[in-house]
Protein backbone atom coordinates (compact mmCIF):
# COMPACT_ATOMS: atom_id res chain seq x y z
CA UNK A 1 0.00 0.00 0.00
CA UNK A 2 1.25 3.41 -0.94
CA UNK A 3 2.38 5.88 1.63
CA UNK A 4 1.67 9.59 1.91
CA UNK A 5 5.12 10.86 0.86
CA UNK A 6 5.22 8.71 -2.26
CA UNK A 7 2.12 10.45 -3.53
CA UNK A 8 2.85 13.85 -2.08
CA UNK A 9 6.09 14.31 -3.98
CA UNK A 10 4.23 13.85 -7.27
CA UNK A 11 1.56 16.44 -6.46
CA UNK A 12 2.87 19.08 -8.90
CA UNK A 13 2.34 16.67 -11.78
CA UNK A 14 -0.83 15.05 -10.43
CA UNK A 15 -2.56 18.35 -9.59
CA UNK A 16 -1.15 20.68 -12.21
CA UNK A 17 0.35 18.55 -14.99
CA UNK A 18 3.89 19.78 -14.44
CA UNK A 19 6.08 18.14 -17.05
CA UNK A 20 9.20 19.24 -18.86
CA UNK A 21 10.27 20.74 -22.16
CA UNK A 22 13.63 19.83 -23.64
CA UNK A 23 15.02 23.09 -24.93
CA UNK A 24 17.42 21.20 -27.15
CA UNK A 25 14.70 19.66 -29.33
CA UNK A 26 11.60 21.49 -28.12
CA UNK A 27 9.73 18.32 -27.20
CA UNK A 28 7.46 18.12 -24.16
CA UNK A 29 7.46 15.19 -21.75
CA UNK A 30 5.10 14.23 -18.98
CA UNK A 31 5.79 13.46 -16.19
CA UNK A 32 9.09 15.13 -15.43
CA UNK A 33 12.28 13.37 -16.39
CA UNK A 34 15.90 14.38 -15.87
CA UNK A 35 17.11 13.78 -19.39
CA UNK A 36 15.57 13.95 -22.85
CA UNK A 37 15.32 10.44 -24.36
CA UNK A 38 15.84 11.92 -27.82
CA UNK A 39 18.68 14.39 -27.22
CA UNK A 40 20.42 12.49 -24.41
CA UNK A 41 23.49 14.43 -23.31
CA UNK A 42 22.64 17.48 -25.44
CA UNK A 43 19.64 18.05 -23.18
CA UNK A 44 21.70 18.41 -20.01
CA UNK A 45 21.00 21.83 -18.54
CA UNK A 46 18.23 22.41 -21.09
CA UNK A 47 15.35 20.72 -19.31
CA UNK A 48 12.72 23.23 -18.27
CA UNK A 49 9.71 22.52 -16.07
CA UNK A 50 6.44 23.45 -17.75
CA UNK A 51 2.78 23.16 -16.91
CA UNK A 52 0.79 21.48 -19.67
CA UNK A 53 -2.48 23.10 -20.68
CA UNK A 54 -4.51 19.99 -19.97
CA UNK A 55 -6.33 19.80 -23.28
CA UNK A 56 -5.99 17.01 -25.79
CA UNK A 57 -7.64 14.20 -27.67
CA UNK A 58 -8.42 10.58 -26.92
CA UNK A 59 -5.84 8.33 -28.57
CA UNK A 60 -7.35 5.08 -27.33
CA UNK A 61 -9.78 4.09 -24.60
CA UNK A 62 -11.36 1.18 -22.77
CA UNK A 63 -14.23 0.65 -20.39
CA UNK A 64 -12.87 -1.11 -17.33
CA UNK A 65 -15.20 -3.66 -15.75
CA UNK A 66 -12.77 -5.62 -13.67
CA UNK A 67 -10.61 -3.43 -11.53
CA UNK A 68 -8.49 -3.07 -8.45
CA UNK A 69 -10.30 -3.09 -5.12
CA UNK A 70 -10.04 0.63 -4.38
CA UNK A 71 -11.80 1.54 -7.64
CA UNK A 72 -14.62 -0.92 -7.28
CA UNK A 73 -17.22 1.78 -6.54
CA UNK A 74 -16.51 3.47 -9.83
CA UNK A 75 -16.71 0.56 -12.21
CA UNK A 76 -17.34 0.41 -14.98
CA UNK A 77 -15.19 3.41 -15.75
CA UNK A 78 -13.34 4.63 -18.79
CA UNK A 79 -9.56 4.73 -19.01
CA UNK A 80 -8.06 6.53 -21.96
CA UNK A 81 -4.72 7.31 -23.40
CA UNK A 82 -4.88 11.03 -24.04
CA UNK A 83 -2.63 12.90 -26.42
CA UNK A 84 -2.02 16.41 -25.09
CA UNK A 85 -1.98 19.34 -27.48
CA UNK A 86 1.70 19.80 -26.60
CA UNK A 87 2.48 16.27 -27.79
CA UNK A 88 3.00 13.89 -24.88
CA UNK A 89 0.52 11.15 -24.11
CA UNK A 90 -0.81 10.25 -20.70
CA UNK A 91 -3.10 7.62 -19.24
CA UNK A 92 -6.10 8.57 -17.12
CA UNK A 93 -9.79 8.16 -16.50
CA UNK A 94 -12.42 9.92 -18.59
CA UNK A 95 -15.37 10.78 -16.38
CA UNK A 96 -18.85 12.30 -16.51
CA UNK A 97 -19.65 10.45 -19.72
CA UNK A 98 -20.58 7.04 -21.06
CA UNK A 99 -18.07 5.00 -23.03
CA UNK A 100 -20.58 4.96 -25.88
CA UNK A 101 -20.28 8.76 -26.21
CA UNK A 102 -16.53 8.57 -26.83
CA UNK A 103 -14.40 7.77 -29.80
CA UNK A 104 -10.76 7.95 -30.75
CA UNK A 105 -10.20 11.66 -31.38
CA UNK A 106 -12.79 12.99 -28.89
CA UNK A 107 -11.43 16.23 -27.36
CA UNK A 108 -11.00 16.21 -23.58
CA UNK A 109 -9.79 18.56 -20.88
CA UNK A 110 -8.26 17.89 -17.52
CA UNK A 111 -10.09 17.99 -14.19
CA UNK A 112 -9.16 16.89 -10.68
CA UNK A 113 -10.78 14.05 -8.81
CA UNK A 114 -10.06 11.49 -6.14
CA UNK A 115 -7.83 8.79 -7.57
CA UNK A 116 -8.00 6.47 -4.60
CA UNK A 117 -7.99 6.40 -0.85
CA UNK A 118 -6.02 4.20 1.46
CA UNK A 119 -9.05 2.78 3.22
CA UNK A 120 -11.47 4.77 5.35
CA UNK A 121 -8.77 6.08 7.70
CA UNK A 122 -5.91 6.53 5.24
CA UNK A 123 -4.75 9.35 3.03
CA UNK A 124 -6.86 10.38 0.03
CA UNK A 125 -5.07 10.74 -3.29
CA UNK A 126 -6.17 13.40 -5.76
CA UNK A 127 -5.07 13.86 -9.32
CA UNK A 128 -5.95 14.38 -12.94
CA UNK A 129 -8.83 12.83 -14.80
CA UNK A 130 -10.39 13.97 -18.05
CA UNK A 131 -13.82 15.13 -19.16
CA UNK A 132 -15.02 15.27 -22.75
CA UNK A 133 -15.16 18.81 -24.11
CA UNK A 134 -18.62 19.51 -25.44
CA UNK A 135 -18.83 21.99 -28.24
CA UNK A 136 -20.83 24.96 -26.91
CA UNK A 137 -24.06 25.57 -28.70
CA UNK A 138 -23.87 28.90 -30.53
Amino acid sequence: MATAPRFWRENPSRYNLVGIRCNSCGRYFFPRRAICPICHRKSVGKIEEVKLKGTGKIFSFTEVHDTLEELVLQKPYVVAMVEFDEGPKVTGQVIDCEASELQIGTPVRVTMRKLSEEGPSGIIHYGYKFVPVKEKAP
Binding site: A2, S60, T62, V79, G127
Partner: protein, 388 residues
Protein backbone atom coordinates in the same frame (compact mmCIF):
# COMPACT_ATOMS: atom_id res chain seq x y z
CA UNK B 1 31.88 -17.03 -27.43
CA UNK B 2 31.06 -20.70 -26.91
CA UNK B 3 28.02 -22.32 -28.46
CA UNK B 4 25.40 -23.28 -25.92
CA UNK B 5 22.95 -26.16 -25.83
CA UNK B 6 19.93 -27.12 -23.81
CA UNK B 7 20.49 -30.62 -22.48
CA UNK B 8 17.58 -30.99 -20.11
CA UNK B 9 14.12 -29.62 -19.56
CA UNK B 10 11.53 -30.07 -16.84
CA UNK B 11 8.36 -28.50 -15.61
CA UNK B 12 5.38 -28.92 -13.33
CA UNK B 13 1.75 -28.94 -14.23
CA UNK B 14 0.40 -25.41 -14.45
CA UNK B 15 -2.74 -24.38 -12.65
CA UNK B 16 -4.11 -23.99 -9.15
CA UNK B 17 -1.68 -26.22 -7.32
CA UNK B 18 -3.21 -26.01 -3.85
CA UNK B 19 -1.06 -28.78 -2.42
CA UNK B 20 2.25 -27.30 -3.55
CA UNK B 21 4.27 -24.45 -2.14
CA UNK B 22 6.60 -22.15 -4.04
CA UNK B 23 9.57 -24.27 -3.04
CA UNK B 24 7.77 -27.50 -3.93
CA UNK B 25 7.15 -26.48 -7.52
CA UNK B 26 10.52 -24.79 -7.96
CA UNK B 27 12.32 -27.96 -6.87
CA UNK B 28 10.04 -30.30 -8.81
CA UNK B 29 10.75 -28.54 -12.11
CA UNK B 30 14.46 -28.23 -11.36
CA UNK B 31 14.89 -31.88 -10.40
CA UNK B 32 13.07 -33.09 -13.48
CA UNK B 33 15.28 -30.93 -15.71
CA UNK B 34 18.38 -32.23 -13.95
CA UNK B 35 17.15 -35.82 -14.34
CA UNK B 36 16.39 -35.17 -18.02
CA UNK B 37 19.95 -33.93 -18.48
CA UNK B 38 21.41 -36.92 -16.71
CA UNK B 39 23.49 -34.77 -14.38
CA UNK B 40 23.78 -34.55 -10.64
CA UNK B 41 24.42 -31.81 -8.12
CA UNK B 42 28.19 -31.95 -8.40
CA UNK B 43 27.96 -31.10 -12.12
CA UNK B 44 26.14 -27.82 -11.51
CA UNK B 45 28.17 -24.62 -11.64
CA UNK B 46 25.44 -22.04 -11.21
CA UNK B 47 21.73 -21.51 -10.81
CA UNK B 48 19.59 -18.71 -12.23
CA UNK B 49 15.97 -18.27 -11.14
CA UNK B 50 13.39 -16.16 -12.93
CA UNK B 51 10.68 -14.85 -10.65
CA UNK B 52 8.53 -11.74 -10.75
CA UNK B 53 7.18 -11.18 -7.31
CA UNK B 54 7.67 -13.84 -4.66
CA UNK B 55 8.02 -10.96 -2.22
CA UNK B 56 4.41 -10.04 -2.74
CA UNK B 57 2.90 -13.41 -3.69
CA UNK B 58 4.38 -15.35 -0.78
CA UNK B 59 6.20 -12.61 1.16
CA UNK B 60 9.51 -14.28 0.45
CA UNK B 61 12.44 -12.45 -1.07
CA UNK B 62 15.88 -14.01 -1.47
CA UNK B 63 14.36 -16.88 -3.40
CA UNK B 64 17.54 -17.70 -5.34
CA UNK B 65 19.10 -18.95 -2.13
CA UNK B 66 15.84 -20.66 -1.16
CA UNK B 67 15.64 -22.63 -4.41
CA UNK B 68 19.34 -23.49 -4.26
CA UNK B 69 18.87 -24.69 -0.70
CA UNK B 70 15.86 -26.93 -1.32
CA UNK B 71 17.41 -28.21 -4.54
CA UNK B 72 20.03 -29.66 -2.23
CA UNK B 73 22.79 -27.36 -3.40
CA UNK B 74 23.36 -25.41 -0.20
CA UNK B 75 26.29 -27.42 1.06
CA UNK B 76 27.98 -27.11 -2.30
CA UNK B 77 27.73 -23.32 -2.07
CA UNK B 78 26.65 -23.07 -5.69
CA UNK B 79 25.99 -19.49 -6.78
CA UNK B 80 22.30 -18.81 -7.29
CA UNK B 81 20.88 -15.62 -8.76
CA UNK B 82 17.35 -14.32 -9.10
CA UNK B 83 16.35 -12.43 -12.24
CA UNK B 84 13.33 -10.12 -12.37
CA UNK B 85 11.79 -8.47 -15.41
CA UNK B 86 8.07 -8.91 -14.67
CA UNK B 87 6.59 -11.30 -17.28
CA UNK B 88 9.97 -11.62 -18.98
CA UNK B 89 11.75 -12.87 -15.85
CA UNK B 90 12.00 -16.45 -17.14
CA UNK B 91 13.27 -15.50 -20.58
CA UNK B 92 15.76 -13.12 -19.07
CA UNK B 93 17.00 -15.79 -16.63
CA UNK B 94 17.62 -18.05 -19.62
CA UNK B 95 19.61 -15.29 -21.28
CA UNK B 96 21.74 -14.84 -18.16
CA UNK B 97 22.42 -18.57 -18.08
CA UNK B 98 23.21 -18.50 -21.78
CA UNK B 99 25.67 -15.63 -21.31
CA UNK B 100 27.32 -17.41 -18.38
CA UNK B 101 27.91 -20.58 -20.40
CA UNK B 102 28.77 -18.79 -23.66
CA UNK B 103 31.33 -16.65 -21.91
CA UNK B 104 33.12 -19.66 -20.56
CA UNK B 105 32.53 -18.68 -16.96
CA UNK B 106 30.35 -21.70 -16.23
CA UNK B 107 29.84 -25.07 -17.88
CA UNK B 108 26.64 -26.49 -16.45
CA UNK B 109 23.97 -24.01 -15.54
CA UNK B 110 20.44 -24.68 -14.36
CA UNK B 111 17.92 -21.98 -15.20
CA UNK B 112 14.57 -22.14 -13.50
CA UNK B 113 11.48 -20.00 -13.32
CA UNK B 114 8.67 -20.20 -10.81
CA UNK B 115 5.67 -18.30 -9.55
CA UNK B 116 3.19 -19.24 -6.85
CA UNK B 117 0.23 -16.94 -7.52
CA UNK B 118 -2.68 -18.56 -5.75
CA UNK B 119 -1.55 -17.97 -2.18
CA UNK B 120 -3.05 -14.47 -2.47
CA UNK B 121 -6.60 -13.42 -3.37
CA UNK B 122 -7.52 -12.70 -6.97
CA UNK B 123 -7.72 -9.00 -6.07
CA UNK B 124 -4.25 -9.01 -4.56
CA UNK B 125 -2.93 -10.97 -7.53
CA UNK B 126 -4.30 -8.31 -9.89
CA UNK B 127 -2.55 -5.60 -7.88
CA UNK B 128 0.75 -7.47 -8.02
CA UNK B 129 0.46 -8.13 -11.76
CA UNK B 130 -0.28 -4.45 -12.35
CA UNK B 131 3.07 -3.57 -10.84
CA UNK B 132 4.68 -4.62 -14.13
CA UNK B 133 3.22 -1.40 -15.56
CA UNK B 134 4.17 2.09 -14.39
CA UNK B 135 2.69 2.31 -10.90
CA UNK B 136 2.89 6.09 -10.60
CA UNK B 137 1.61 7.06 -14.02
CA UNK B 138 -0.57 4.16 -15.15
CA UNK B 139 -1.88 2.01 -12.31
CA UNK B 140 -2.55 4.88 -9.91
CA UNK B 141 -4.65 6.55 -12.61
CA UNK B 142 -6.95 3.54 -12.85
CA UNK B 143 -5.27 1.64 -15.68
CA UNK B 144 -5.23 -2.04 -14.77
CA UNK B 145 -2.94 -4.43 -16.62
CA UNK B 146 -5.81 -5.72 -18.81
CA UNK B 147 -6.92 -2.09 -19.39
CA UNK B 148 -3.52 -1.20 -20.84
CA UNK B 149 -3.75 -4.14 -23.24
CA UNK B 150 -7.30 -3.09 -24.07
CA UNK B 151 -5.93 0.31 -25.11
CA UNK B 152 -3.58 -1.50 -27.47
CA UNK B 153 -6.41 -3.68 -28.80
CA UNK B 154 -8.73 -0.73 -29.36
CA UNK B 155 -6.03 1.17 -31.24
CA UNK B 156 -5.02 -1.88 -33.29
CA UNK B 157 -8.64 -2.39 -34.31
CA UNK B 158 -8.85 1.31 -35.18
CA UNK B 159 -5.67 1.44 -37.25
CA UNK B 160 -5.69 -1.95 -38.94
CA UNK B 161 -9.28 -3.12 -38.87
CA UNK B 162 -8.45 -6.04 -36.61
CA UNK B 163 -11.76 -7.57 -35.57
CA UNK B 164 -13.20 -8.79 -32.30
CA UNK B 165 -13.52 -12.22 -33.92
CA UNK B 166 -9.83 -12.30 -34.82
CA UNK B 167 -8.92 -11.63 -31.19
CA UNK B 168 -11.16 -14.52 -30.22
CA UNK B 169 -9.48 -16.75 -32.78
CA UNK B 170 -6.19 -16.43 -30.89
CA UNK B 171 -7.79 -17.86 -27.76
CA UNK B 172 -9.64 -20.55 -29.70
CA UNK B 173 -6.42 -21.70 -31.36
CA UNK B 174 -4.44 -21.70 -28.14
CA UNK B 175 -7.13 -23.65 -26.32
CA UNK B 176 -7.09 -26.17 -29.17
CA UNK B 177 -3.34 -26.54 -28.71
CA UNK B 178 -3.78 -26.68 -24.93
CA UNK B 179 -6.24 -29.55 -25.35
CA UNK B 180 -3.35 -31.55 -26.82
CA UNK B 181 -0.95 -30.71 -23.98
CA UNK B 182 -1.40 -32.91 -20.90
CA UNK B 183 0.39 -30.33 -18.76
CA UNK B 184 -1.74 -27.37 -19.80
CA UNK B 185 -3.90 -25.58 -17.26
CA UNK B 186 -6.86 -25.62 -19.68
CA UNK B 187 -7.22 -28.71 -21.82
CA UNK B 188 -10.60 -28.00 -23.28
CA UNK B 189 -11.43 -26.54 -26.65
CA UNK B 190 -13.48 -23.38 -26.85
CA UNK B 191 -15.29 -21.51 -29.60
CA UNK B 192 -15.42 -17.87 -30.71
CA UNK B 193 -18.75 -17.75 -28.91
CA UNK B 194 -17.09 -18.85 -25.63
CA UNK B 195 -14.70 -15.91 -25.87
CA UNK B 196 -17.17 -13.32 -27.06
CA UNK B 197 -19.81 -14.12 -24.49
CA UNK B 198 -17.40 -14.32 -21.56
CA UNK B 199 -17.53 -11.48 -18.98
CA UNK B 200 -16.12 -8.14 -20.06
CA UNK B 201 -12.84 -7.35 -18.33
CA UNK B 202 -11.81 -4.17 -20.08
CA UNK B 203 -13.45 -3.50 -23.40
CA UNK B 204 -12.87 -4.95 -25.93
CA UNK B 205 -11.07 -7.64 -23.91
CA UNK B 206 -13.12 -10.30 -22.19
CA UNK B 207 -12.20 -12.99 -19.71
CA UNK B 208 -11.22 -15.47 -22.42
CA UNK B 209 -8.87 -12.90 -23.94
CA UNK B 210 -6.77 -13.00 -20.79
CA UNK B 211 -4.25 -15.56 -19.60
CA UNK B 212 -5.09 -17.03 -16.19
CA UNK B 213 -3.29 -16.76 -12.88
CA UNK B 214 -1.30 -19.93 -12.38
CA UNK B 215 1.10 -21.72 -10.14
CA UNK B 216 3.93 -23.47 -11.87
CA UNK B 217 7.59 -23.82 -12.54
CA UNK B 218 9.84 -24.79 -15.39
CA UNK B 219 13.58 -25.34 -15.70
CA UNK B 220 16.25 -26.07 -18.25
CA UNK B 221 19.85 -27.23 -18.07
CA UNK B 222 22.47 -25.57 -20.26
CA UNK B 223 25.98 -26.59 -21.17
CA UNK B 224 28.53 -25.87 -23.88
CA UNK B 225 27.41 -27.47 -27.16
CA UNK B 226 30.69 -29.36 -27.48
CA UNK B 227 29.94 -31.20 -24.21
CA UNK B 228 26.24 -31.71 -24.89
CA UNK B 229 26.47 -35.15 -26.43
CA UNK B 230 27.82 -36.42 -23.11
CA UNK B 231 24.43 -35.80 -21.57
CA UNK B 232 21.80 -36.15 -24.26
CA UNK B 233 21.03 -37.80 -27.57
CA UNK B 234 19.32 -34.71 -28.93
CA UNK B 235 20.90 -31.46 -27.83
CA UNK B 236 19.10 -28.31 -28.83
CA UNK B 237 21.32 -25.37 -29.52
CA UNK B 238 20.48 -21.82 -28.53
CA UNK B 239 21.51 -20.17 -31.76
CA UNK B 240 20.19 -16.70 -31.06
CA UNK B 241 19.53 -14.58 -28.00
CA UNK B 242 18.18 -11.05 -28.07
CA UNK B 243 16.94 -8.71 -25.41
CA UNK B 244 15.57 -5.19 -25.56
CA UNK B 245 13.91 -2.59 -23.38
CA UNK B 246 11.57 0.30 -24.09
CA UNK B 247 9.75 3.07 -22.19
CA UNK B 248 8.15 1.59 -19.08
CA UNK B 249 4.75 3.22 -19.57
CA UNK B 250 2.71 2.28 -22.62
CA UNK B 251 1.76 5.90 -23.34
CA UNK B 252 5.39 6.87 -23.92
CA UNK B 253 5.97 4.33 -26.68
CA UNK B 254 6.50 5.41 -30.26
CA UNK B 255 3.48 3.38 -31.39
CA UNK B 256 1.33 1.41 -28.97
CA UNK B 257 0.45 -1.08 -31.71
CA UNK B 258 4.08 -2.08 -32.10
CA UNK B 259 6.30 -3.51 -29.39
CA UNK B 260 9.61 -1.97 -30.39
CA UNK B 261 11.36 -4.08 -27.76
CA UNK B 262 10.09 -7.25 -29.45
CA UNK B 263 11.28 -5.99 -32.82
CA UNK B 264 14.72 -5.09 -31.47
CA UNK B 265 15.15 -8.31 -29.50
CA UNK B 266 14.07 -10.37 -32.53
CA UNK B 267 16.43 -8.49 -34.83
CA UNK B 268 19.33 -9.20 -32.49
CA UNK B 269 18.43 -12.86 -32.03
CA UNK B 270 17.97 -13.48 -35.76
CA UNK B 271 21.26 -11.71 -36.50
CA UNK B 272 23.10 -13.88 -33.98
CA UNK B 273 21.48 -17.01 -35.40
CA UNK B 274 22.04 -15.97 -39.01
CA UNK B 275 18.51 -17.12 -39.64
CA UNK B 276 15.41 -15.48 -41.04
CA UNK B 277 11.75 -15.68 -40.05
CA UNK B 278 11.01 -18.15 -42.83
CA UNK B 279 13.43 -20.60 -41.21
CA UNK B 280 11.36 -20.81 -38.03
CA UNK B 281 8.99 -23.76 -37.74
CA UNK B 282 7.33 -22.89 -34.49
CA UNK B 283 7.22 -20.12 -31.92
CA UNK B 284 6.10 -19.76 -28.34
CA UNK B 285 5.04 -16.12 -28.05
CA UNK B 286 3.87 -14.03 -25.11
CA UNK B 287 0.08 -14.19 -25.43
CA UNK B 288 -0.84 -12.88 -21.98
CA UNK B 289 -3.76 -11.30 -23.84
CA UNK B 290 -5.11 -12.27 -27.25
CA UNK B 291 -4.04 -8.90 -28.67
CA UNK B 292 -0.50 -9.58 -27.44
CA UNK B 293 -0.15 -12.59 -29.73
CA UNK B 294 -1.33 -10.54 -32.68
CA UNK B 295 1.29 -7.90 -31.95
CA UNK B 296 3.91 -10.59 -31.34
CA UNK B 297 3.50 -12.39 -34.67
CA UNK B 298 3.73 -9.02 -36.42
CA UNK B 299 6.66 -7.60 -34.46
CA UNK B 300 8.63 -10.84 -34.65
CA UNK B 301 8.36 -10.41 -38.42
CA UNK B 302 6.22 -13.46 -39.20
CA UNK B 303 3.48 -11.27 -40.63
CA UNK B 304 3.27 -7.67 -41.80
CA UNK B 305 2.13 -5.01 -39.30
CA UNK B 306 -1.63 -5.08 -39.16
CA UNK B 307 -1.89 -8.58 -40.66
CA UNK B 308 -1.64 -10.57 -37.42
CA UNK B 309 -5.38 -10.78 -36.88
CA UNK B 310 -6.09 -11.85 -40.45
CA UNK B 311 -3.29 -14.42 -40.35
CA UNK B 312 -4.73 -15.90 -37.17
CA UNK B 313 -8.21 -16.01 -38.65
CA UNK B 314 -6.84 -17.74 -41.74
CA UNK B 315 -5.25 -20.44 -39.59
CA UNK B 316 -1.70 -19.51 -40.52
CA UNK B 317 -0.56 -19.72 -36.90
CA UNK B 318 -2.11 -23.14 -36.14
CA UNK B 319 -0.31 -26.46 -35.89
CA UNK B 320 -0.57 -26.98 -39.64
CA UNK B 321 -0.07 -23.33 -40.50
CA UNK B 322 2.83 -21.37 -41.94
CA UNK B 323 4.28 -21.06 -38.48
CA UNK B 324 2.90 -22.96 -35.52
CA UNK B 325 2.42 -20.43 -32.74
CA UNK B 326 1.99 -21.45 -29.12
CA UNK B 327 1.75 -25.18 -29.65
CA UNK B 328 1.81 -25.62 -25.86
CA UNK B 329 -1.42 -23.66 -25.58
CA UNK B 330 0.48 -20.48 -24.85
CA UNK B 331 0.05 -18.40 -21.74
CA UNK B 332 -3.68 -18.49 -22.46
CA UNK B 333 -4.22 -22.24 -22.18
CA UNK B 334 -1.01 -23.73 -20.78
CA UNK B 335 -1.15 -21.13 -18.01
CA UNK B 336 0.95 -18.16 -16.99
CA UNK B 337 2.88 -18.55 -13.75
CA UNK B 338 4.72 -15.34 -14.51
CA UNK B 339 8.34 -16.15 -13.68
CA UNK B 340 8.01 -19.67 -15.08
CA UNK B 341 6.48 -18.68 -18.39
CA UNK B 342 9.71 -17.83 -20.23
CA UNK B 343 11.18 -21.22 -19.30
CA UNK B 344 7.97 -23.13 -20.03
CA UNK B 345 8.25 -21.73 -23.55
CA UNK B 346 11.73 -23.24 -23.81
CA UNK B 347 10.51 -26.58 -22.47
CA UNK B 348 7.89 -26.66 -25.24
CA UNK B 349 10.32 -25.70 -28.01
CA UNK B 350 12.90 -28.26 -26.88
CA UNK B 351 10.21 -30.95 -26.59
CA UNK B 352 9.05 -30.13 -30.13
CA UNK B 353 12.57 -30.05 -31.60
CA UNK B 354 13.23 -33.42 -29.96
CA UNK B 355 10.10 -34.67 -31.70
CA UNK B 356 8.49 -35.63 -28.39
CA UNK B 357 5.43 -33.35 -28.43
CA UNK B 358 2.91 -36.13 -29.03
CA UNK B 359 -0.41 -35.08 -30.52
CA UNK B 360 0.69 -31.48 -30.91
CA UNK B 361 4.00 -32.34 -32.60
CA UNK B 362 4.95 -29.98 -35.41
CA UNK B 363 6.17 -32.16 -38.24
CA UNK B 364 9.92 -32.14 -38.78
CA UNK B 365 10.48 -29.18 -36.51
CA UNK B 366 14.05 -27.90 -36.82
CA UNK B 367 14.00 -24.31 -35.61
CA UNK B 368 11.91 -22.81 -32.82
CA UNK B 369 11.63 -19.38 -31.22
CA UNK B 370 10.60 -18.12 -27.80
CA UNK B 371 9.32 -14.61 -27.13
CA UNK B 372 8.86 -13.41 -23.58
CA UNK B 373 7.55 -9.97 -22.64
CA UNK B 374 7.67 -7.94 -19.45
CA UNK B 375 4.95 -5.42 -18.66
CA UNK B 376 3.20 -3.99 -21.69
CA UNK B 377 6.37 -4.38 -23.73
CA UNK B 378 9.06 -2.55 -21.77
CA UNK B 379 11.17 -5.72 -21.81
CA UNK B 380 11.30 -8.35 -24.51
CA UNK B 381 13.51 -11.40 -24.76
CA UNK B 382 13.73 -13.57 -27.88
CA UNK B 383 15.61 -16.84 -28.20
CA UNK B 384 16.05 -19.04 -31.25
CA UNK B 385 16.70 -22.77 -30.94
CA UNK B 386 17.85 -25.34 -33.45
CA UNK B 387 18.02 -29.08 -33.23
CA UNK B 388 21.73 -29.76 -33.08
Amino acid sequence: MRRVAVIGVGDTEFGELWDSSFRDIGIKAGLSAVADANISADNIDALFVGNMSAGRFIEQEHIAALIGDYAGLARDNIPSTRIEAAGASGGLALRQGFIAVASGLHDIVVVGGAEKMTDVSDEESAVIQSSAADQEWETVLGATFPALHALIAKRHMHEYGTTREQLADVAVKNHRHGSLNPKAQFQREITRETVMSSPMVSSPLRMFDCAPSSDGAAAVVLCPLEQAKKYTEVPVEIVGSGQASDYLALHHRKDICTMEATKAAAKRAFAMASLAQKDVDLAEVHDNFTISEILAVEDLGFFKKGEGGKATEAGLTGLEGEIAVNTSGGLKARGDPIGATGLAQVVEIVTQLRGKAGKRQVKDAQVGLTHNVGGTGATAVVHIFRRA
